[in-house]
Symmetry: C2
Subunit: 267 residues, 2 copies
């Protein structure tokens, strides 16, 4: 692998990318997961690679919902484990009773076990979903498998980087869904009751900060959240950033190239 110079304009993003490529080689992440990461990168770039005020509000609401829930579950796939196993562990400690369940689009027993080991090494006390014992209706059989002690029982599912079909199926099954997805137009974001449009680790840190270590009361009082307004705000932020970029593109001092210039000799 080429070494990246810290002077490179996108050093942080490139480092995260290399880390994911390593997890891929270790069998935690699948090729489709790398493509999904790229889609996220593009949206994060358009959002300015920072947490929007509306996303911060969504993270606070997510913390309140996690406190209010009776059986909250966070669903972990290969990308989530690769990018944020430590953050998942810290969240599970900050909200006692939060179940952690492995949930894979491309499931093999070996991969599920690898991800469970990674989560445990990061500090998650118990990992569900390695040997699924229930099914979620309305999905192809290989993607419907869930844990009877986890998602099957859950009233609230936190689904970071989730597939659109699955987010929809969870909602149809009567569960409240909190998504973390950088694409405000994705089916996952549109189907979530509480969509968080923010980068995974920033979002998990934001939720944990808002939890503040207070124990969950499981009182069933879920503060209102206006999902369409949150998504519309993220779209407005992208438009704003694009307008700024357009301004600087127009301000470019480079003259148009064309026939007016003599043909240059190559070295």
């Amino acid at each position: 692998m080429t070494e990246i110079s810290p002077k490179h304009p996108r050093y942080a993003s490139l480092r995260r990318r290399e880390g994911l490529a390593r997890s891929f080689r270790a069998g935690v992440v699948v090729p489709e997961g790398l493509i999904a990461q790229g889609r996220g990168e593009a949206f994060d770039y358009l959002l300015g690679e920072a947490t929007l005020p509306s996303a911060r509000r969504a993270e606070r609401a997510a913390a309140a919902w996690l406190r209010a829930a009776r059986h909250p579950v966070v669903s972990v796939n290969g990308n989530v484990a690769a990018l944020a196993a430590r953050e998942v562990a810290l969240l599970a400690r900050a909200r006692p009773g939060l179940a952690v369940e492995v949930n894979l689009f491309h499931r093999t027993r070996g991969r599920a076990e690898k991800i469970a080991r990674l989560l445990k090494a990061a500090g998650v006390p118990q990992v569900l979903g390695v040997r699924p014992t229930a099914t979620l209706p309305g999905l192809p059989s290989d993607r419907a498998r869930i844990d009877a002690r986890g998602i099957a029982l859950a009233d609230l599912c936190l689904v970071p980087l989730e597939d659109g079909d699955r987010a929809e199926a969870l909602r149809r099954a009567g569960k409240r869904v909190i998504s973390i997805d950088l694409n405000p137009l994705s089916r996952t974001s549109r189907n979530a009751d509480l969509p968080i449009v923010d980068e995974l680790t920033r979002a998990l840190q934001g939720i944990r900060a808002a939890l503040g270590g207070a124990p969950g009361s499981a009182d069933g009082v879920f503060p209102r959240f206006d999902a369409p307004a949150a998504l519309a705000d993220a779209l407005r932020a992208i438009s704003r950033n694009l307008r700024r970029s357009r301004g600087s593109a127009r301000a470019s001092p480079r003259p148009p190239r064309g026939s007016a210039r003599p043909r240059r000799r190559t070295p």
Copy 2:
């Protein structure tokens, strides 16, 4: 691999994704290439997954530049070979004298040979760059390697899905650069003399259609092209699509979820 239903709302994009994942398993595409594909997908989605009129104009200008050039070269990396080997071969036939050079960010001899074989099987008569014989100034040594008969000699480089550093180095070396890149904000797009903001296969088909089979005259007359205007147009198109999506997000009939609703029982 899970089989995708043709009824899936993003069937075409998912099929392309699976094809790339296969090329990855064959060693043609590297993990970083899959992430790059995801970034492209996000921008294609925002552009409406169709060729913009401004991109069509850029493709026509690219055809005129290819005709005008004395030593045009198309640079091929793993993703380009995986997604469009056939289109590269058809372009090379439509513009006799167009050199095809393998150019890898993550170069190994084995990978370069694999890509050359793939291009030859698709109908490219001669593939340069497998054993590089020259260097491009201003790049880390492993990425500077070029072919003395190809890019080193070129007056015009067509660089699809190119890295920003390399696009910049080509331009500094005095070559005209035509890029194909879905991100109008990328350093590659911003550094190109003629940026085409379109999906790879659509762009190559567009250039080939505009070439029309006429032989190159190599007259050195490169019609003017206003690169900043082309990029600004792509950014405007994305903004327009986002505004439309925002409208439909607001029109969503889903009521906000919150404490007003009784807590539901999970099944």
